[in-house]
């Protein structure tokens, strides 16, 4: 079985500082989104279960990806395709889906395409569906349990009102929810050996696209502004011993007219 996992490097959100309402992204370390790790973990679990499987990671990110990719490779991926060309930068979700689809078509063999239900940074949740459409595949999103057997998947989806149990034939695109698994922490020796696994760097030309068909140039969404929200919360941390804090809180809430009406 051939499994493709799509991942994206993103800035470590906790490291983003705001200055004059603008986010400072310079020098912010890049990390994998939590859901991306759930995706690779799920692929690794499937491989362990079915035995014969090849996992290829398609990852988008900066030149730091050469380092970062060791983690998914150590978690169980067999091969990696790195989309690090600066031309890919600044793409919107639909553009990302296009690039991923082209890369996956070039990989050729794919029974399962797994990715997170959204990226932890922007959470647009568009890529999985758009990718499924581009690859002309069925999709199962928000998956919290996944079972692959005899060319068929059964999945439990976490929807608002219920858990939906669905089935489909391979190949299929799956987007996973965070509760599907607990990503493993790869051991050192696995990371070390991961360095020897095949890695390919593909630019736009390698996947049959021109530079102006990808990245910011091709973005279908314009960013007009991106500033820290102006918030007018009072940000009062109540001081004193516990009784004083409690008294102050209750007083404040009564004064605000939200308590004891």
């Amino acid at each position: 079985m051939d499994i493709v996992v799509c991942m994206k490097q993103m800035p470590d959100l906790q490291q983003i500082r705001i200055k004059d309402r603008k986010p400072i992204l310079e020098n912010v370390p890049l990390v994998w989104g939590d859901l991306d790790k759930n995706a690779i973990e799920e692929a690794a679990l499937i491989k362990e279960k079915v035995g014969e499987a090849k996992i290829t990671v398609v990852a988008k990110g900066s030149d730091k990806l050469q380092q970062g990719i060791l983690e998914p490779l150590a978690m169980g991926a067999d091969e990696a395709v790195l989309l690090t060309d600066p031309a890919f930068e600044g793409s919107d979700s639909m553009g990302t889906a296009k690039v991923l689809a082209k890369a996956i078509e070039k990989i050729g063999a794919y029974d399962l395409v797994i990715l997170g239900e959204g990226s932890t940074d922007n959470y647009s949740g568009l890529v999985g569906s758009a990718l499924a459409e581009l690859l002309n595949l069925p999709e199962i999103t928000y998956v919290r349990e996944l079972n692959v057997e005899n060319g068929k998947v059964t999945a439990v989806r976490n929807m608002e009102e219920s858990f939906e149990v669905v089935e489909a034939n391979l190949p299929v695109v799956i987007t996973v929810a965070q509760e599907i698994n607990e990503p493993r922490l790869p051991k050192f020796m696995a990371i070390r050996k991961a360095g020897a696994k095949p890695r390919h760097e593909w630019g736009p030309a390698d996947i049959g696209l021109s530079a102006d068909e990808v990245g910011e140039n091709a973005a279908s969404v314009d960013m007009l502004s991106n500033l820290a929200p102006e918030q007018d919360r009072k940000n009062i941390i109540l001081e004193g011993d516990l009784d004083e804090k409690i008294d102050a809180l209750v007083d404040a809430l009564i004064k605000e007219g939200v308590l004891g009406r």
Binding site: Q14, Q15, R17
Partner: protein, 91 residues
């Protein structure tokens, strides 16, 4: 600026597992309780309900002052686990 707000400027990756464990028995026998004022993050406090010493590991700057100052050896002290704890942006 108070110490809580100052710590709020730093990046902390919170681990649910504490990395400093206090031996309350030894701690109770200590008269000086140096930890209460040597900690640059002011993370030690005496629990008013139980009388135990509490430490708020999530704001720990991992300097180790308390480990050195706790001459009675009440602290099972470690750095935060890999990938957790304070992450300095300037240093």
């Amino acid at each position: 600026m108070n110490i809580e707000s100052k710590l709020g400027l730093d990046v902390f990756k919170i681990d649910e597992e504490p990395h400093i464990i206090i031996n309350q028995e030894i701690c109770r026998s200590c008269e000086e309780k140096f930890c209460l004022y040597v900690c640059p993050g002011k993370l030690y406090s005496i629990n008013r309900e139980t009388g135990d010493m509490d430490v708020e590991c999530s704001g720990c700057l991992e300097c180790g002052t308390c480990r050195i100052a706790c001459v009675h050896g009440a602290l099972d002290w470690n750095y935060a686990r890999g990938g957790f704890g304070v992450q300095f942006r300037f240093g």
